[in-house]
Symmetry: C2
Subunit: 210 residues, 2 copies
């Protein structure tokens, strides 16, 4: 196993360093965030920084970097405090990746990337019709991360939409069955292959697959 010292990493060419560091956290979630502004122009951004924050209350967090990701998402979120979160699946991957291109403020990524906008039960922000797991989010806080000038957005989970047959009796949602994908690094996309679910672990008791 080779050691890459902190100094060697710091000296990497900028794009190579970005790719290297982006791979280190492990596999990342792959979602599309849908927003709308006051002029009714919609915006859609692929994000890999969404993480589970807590179940009670039901909260998610995600990081937005003003300098990299399209500012429109952050501006829209600040403006009207709502967005949608839509899992990216295999059939959507190329169109979802395309939303990372720098479109004009007057262009909607839905239209430019051939993704279908849908509005559900009067929620203000647009959902992705092609997504198999999607939810309404209300932004409840924005925490500035001073270490690198990013923003942590904290969102409350509202209505959730999914196909009934991927929800197990114990509340577990089989996101692999919904073809949800995962991302590593900046641009590497992956399907998954389940190893199974493990029982609740207790000291001095061997665990087993469910």
């Amino acid at each position: 196993m080779k050691r890459y010292t902190v100094n060697e990493i710091a000296k990497l060419e900028s794009r190579n360093k970005t790719a290297f560091i982006n791979s280190l956290s492990g596999f990342k979630s792959c979602n599309l965030i849908g927003t709308i502004n006051q002029d009714k122009i919609t915006n859609l951004s692929i994000v890999s920084s969404v993480f589970h924050l807590g179940a009670t209350p039901p909260l998610l967090g995600f990081i937005i970097r003003p300098d990299v990701v399209r500012r429109d998402t952050l501006e829209n979120i600040r403006e009207n405090k709502v967005c949608t979160l839509n899992h990216v699946n295999e059939a959507l991957v190329m169109r979802a990746h395309q939303t990372s291109a720098r479109y004009e403020k007057t262009q909607s990524e839905f239209e430019e990337c051939n993704i279908t906008e849908e509005y559900l039960n009067d929620f203000q922000a647009p959902f992705v019709k092609e997504s198999n797991i999607k939810m309404a989010l209300t932004i409840i806080n924005e925490i500035k991360i001073k270490e690198n000038n990013t923003s942590l957005i904290i969102a409350n989970i509202g209505d959730v939409y999914l196909q009934e047959d991927i929800l197990n009796d114990d509340g577990f949602i089989d996101i692999e069955k919904a073809n949800t994908i995962t991302v590593s690094g900046l641009d590497s996309y992956h399907m998954t292959k389940s190893l199974g679910r493990l029982n609740y672990a207790k000291p001095n008791q061997s665990i087993n697959w469910k």
Copy 2:
């Protein structure tokens, strides 16, 4: 597609709600965090909340909930400001999951779960020998998330250890090749199957697999 309203979700039985909400962010990273206290007792915790925060400076974030995860990790981190991050691979999954059992403060999960402790280049915290991608972290901030009484730990990435053949020329680390796994919900583990890497997206230009 079925709608699960925010009120229906709130009424779910507590464990079912936890499983349901835990599945919604998408696939999660799967890591072991290694720490040590002043009495030289080591601690190892499986965590699914590690996320990429930025490449310049190289930063990771992770969430610790004092009420759920073993407090030892948080106490050790607060005490000596260092820990290790170790990717979980297929061969490690059962032993890694076992670290979530509630062991006594005097017990080390390394020993109890049959995972091998290793010390590299005088870094104070213990690494996981069986892990194929591991790194030294220095804690630089702890941000309290008031919405649910969790802590966001911000860590600086130090030395990184991996097998040379999984590092591509452009800085991308092939974590799938290292057998790194991903987790969904509370207890569902998954291998991955690469779809490929996509080119940098530009407006009005079709993207392709690399």
